[in-house]
């Protein structure tokens, strides 16, 4: 097709180059489709009703909801202890105190939660790809 393609008149600047070059005929390759163009091509309700998709959603919620509650509780324990139990927080542990150690532990809590999430999410990516593969025409 390239031999018949007319010269590309796309201007150098401020051009909508994310749209196919001027003058090209035929359908766009998949990676050039915008979300709007893909909109009509999918039956969302059929996918949403799929058992595997429902299972994926349930698995996500089962993980994300408790994890979110956990990190919020762990995090808000810090200002609560600092605000209302300052004497406990002042307890010395070697050259530092409970207040610093607990604040420091928050960094590791955040990294560990993120790590667990990422490993879980890698599994969900596979499940999502499997669901989409079923509906690929």
């Amino acid at each position: 097709m390239s031999s018949q393609t007319p010269r590309d008149f796309t201007p150098e600047s401020a051009a909508p180059t994310d749209i196919a070059p001027l003058g090209r005929t035929g359908s766009k390759p998949a990676h050039e489709m915008t979300a709007e163009e893909e909109r009509g091509s999918v039956d969302w309700d059929v996918i949403a009703a799929d058992a595997d998709f429902k299972k994926l959603l349930a698995a996500k919620i089962r993980f994300i909801l408790p994890m979110t509650i956990f990190f919020l509780v762990y995090y808000f324990t810090l200002p609560v202890l600092v605000g209302w139990f300052p004497d406990f927080m002042k307890t010395r542990v070697g050259n530092v105190n409970v207040a610093y150690l607990f604040a420091f532990s928050q960094f590791f809590m955040a990294w560990i939660v993120a790590g667990i999430y990422v490993s879980k999410a890698a599994g969900w990516d596979k499940d999502a790809a499997a669901v989409l593969a079923k509906f690929k025409k």
Partner: protein, 548 residues
């Protein structure tokens, strides 16, 4: 309690001798960023390239850019200064800034990437009536971005004045920062902004590592000697000598509710900051967005742990009295650098601080201009259709120019030493109270509708701005000795005693969104929820990266 305390520099700061090394390093960084902009400008044509860097940024690159976008001068200079002057309470900011990324990672980043295009409002408008939702979301974005930007620019002016004040005045410094950010954004779009942020993140991380290592060398690399030195730091208040344990909470905040309110604003605000959210559109897919949050969390976490060394280190090695006399909290990190690493290192850290400001203001400018062009101009005024090809990008470029010009004028109008710290606190409060509730509800709540979004955004915006105006950050009676420029805007006893409005305004934002929703029905919004859920969870139909 200001969210990012860009403390006004002390009036009595001695006129700094010209630091030519710092000047050369500033110029070097600026030259490097202009080269980046030149090469980016050749690629930044077309909406996808201009607004979203062609969605071709990789995970680690975007992680660095998110970190560069997020760690503002206020968090580098401001937190170092706050820990140096108020000890442990300053470190609480450091903790909140990292934990906030769990909200981004678990709840917002991936659905946003899968369902949106260029702006935060894309996700909200997905199943709601686009024009009212986009109009008010765009207003919220522009308010958050410009306020945050003015605080950064006043900080930049102060910093440059303190370092090379005899060469460049405050006004000139503000103009230079403003013009540079306009150049980056107008010509280089998101591609240039991204690379400026990446370079800045690398500079900031390496500067902080060097500074921390040099500080620890003063303590013979002994953690216990370092922490041991913090328990008896002396300072003077008038004639009285005060010895304090800098690891003890409560040196800054007396009211426990202040801690809670601050923590709420931090942990929910980040996931509603438009300039952070739009970074997730620059990667090819949701999986890469997730990877980039993890990269950012590693960098941001390491950086904020290091605030221990340079914040507490400044308290221990310089002492609060010295910092107070030599430019105040914002100068704690550069002064510490001079103490432990000599003039060359002082110049390097100052240049890093300057780079930090430039990268953040560029991110804020592109977020404000994308939102105006994409949400307001194209979608609200022209019903989602470009009148002419390339119009959206052209409008964004003009907006970036206008936003930059307005910020320069406002920052010069406010002048050096203006008490602008509340503007950054306001940005986080608006993000947490107005933006986050509607983002979460539109992704996770089927029944959510346009009335809920509009009322949630409006109430969140108005309540956080209103509460800040009547809080001690703006409304305080100053002593007669306070310099006119540093005085609080309203000389009246504060009507709302907490300095952060989060504890009231965040629940109000959620509540308004819920009540607004329950007062009306919108079947079309509920029907489209299926589509949004499938998209958000599978990535089907999400915006693709552009090919070469």
């Amino acid at each position: 309690m200001n969210l990012f305390p860009l403390l006004p520099l002390a009036e009595a700061a001695p006129a700094a001798p010209v630091n030519y090394t710092a000047l050369f390093m500033f110029v070097g960084f600026v030259a490097a960023t202009l080269v980046i902009t030149y090469f980016s400008a050749r690629k930044a044509s077309g909406s996808n390239a201009y607004f979203a860097a062609g969605r071709r940024i990789t995970g680690w690159q975007n992680g660095l850019a998110v970190a560069g976008d997020y760690m503002s001068a206020a968090s580098f200079l401001g937190i170092a200064g706050m820990i140096a002057l108020s000890g442990y309470d300053g470190f609480l900011y450091s903790v909140g800034f990292l934990v906030a990324y769990l909200t981004v990672l678990l709840l917002v980043a991936e659905p946003l990437r899968n369902a949106g295009k260029y702006t935060m409002a894309d996700v909200l408008a997905y199943r709601l009536s686009p024009r009212p939702v986009r109009a008010i979301a765009s207003l919220s974005t522009i308010i958050v971005s410009t306020f945050y930007m003015i605080a950064q620019m006043v900080g930049a002016g102060d910093l440059v004045k303190a370092l090379i004040g005899s060469v460049i005045s405050y006004n000139e410094a503000v103009c230079i920062v403003g013009v540079l950010m306009i150049v980056y954004v107008v010509f280089g779009g998101m591609i240039a902004t991204t690379w400026v942020q990446i370079v800045k993140a690398i500079l900031l991380m390496s500067g902080s590592v060097f500074l921390s290592v040099l500080v620890m060398s003063k303590f013979h690399f002994s953690i216990s000697e370092f922490f041991g030195s913090l328990s008896h730091i002396t300072s003077h208040k008038g004639d009285a000598v005060i010895t304090s344990d800098f690891l003890t909470p409560g040196m800054k905040f007396k009211n426990p509710l202040d801690f809670i309110s601050l923590s709420l604003a931090l942990v929910f605000g980040t996931a509603g900051l438009p300039h952070i959210l739009i970074r997730f559109y620059t990667v090819p897919d949701a999986k890469t967005a997730r990877a980039s949050v993890v990269w950012a969390m590693v960098l941001i976490g390491v950086f904020y742990i290091m605030t221990t060394f340079f914040g507490f280190g400044a308290a221990s090695l310089l002492g609060p009295d010295f910092i107070g006399k030599n430019g105040g909290g914002n100068m704690a990190a550069p002064l510490l650098a001079r103490e432990v690493g000599g003039n060359l290192f002082f110049a390097f850290i100052s240049a890093v601080a300057f780079a930090t400001i430039l990268a953040v203001v560029a991110g804020l400018t592109i977020s404000a201009s994308s939102s105006f062009a994409h949400d307001f101009f194209t979608n609200v005024i022209h019903h989602g259709k470009e009148q002419k090809p390339g119009e959206e990008v052209r409008v964004a470029r003009i907006t970036a120019f206008v936003v930059g010009a307005i910020s320069i004028v406002l920052a010069i109008g406010l002048g050096p030493n203006a008490n602008v710290a509340f503007l950054v606190g306001l940005a986080f409060a608006v993000a947490a109270s107005a933006n986050l509730p509607v983002i979460l509800f539109s992704i996770f709540w089927k029944r959510f509708n346009t009335a809920g979004a509009v009322s949630g955004l409006a109430v969140g915006l108005i309540s956080s701005i209103g509460l800040i105006i009547i809080s001690p950050t703006i409304m305080t009676i100053d002593a007669a000795t306070v310099a006119p420029a540093a005085r609080h805007l309203i000389q009246h006893a504060p009507l709302f005693t907490l300095t952060n409005p989060g504890i009231i305004s965040i629940p109000l934002g959620f509540l308004a969104a819920i009540i607004g929703t329950l007062c009306s029905r919108e079947p079309s919004a509920e029907e489209k929820f299926t589509e949004l859920t499938v998209r958000a969870n599978t990535g089907l139909g999400s915006e693709k990266a552009t090919a070469h």
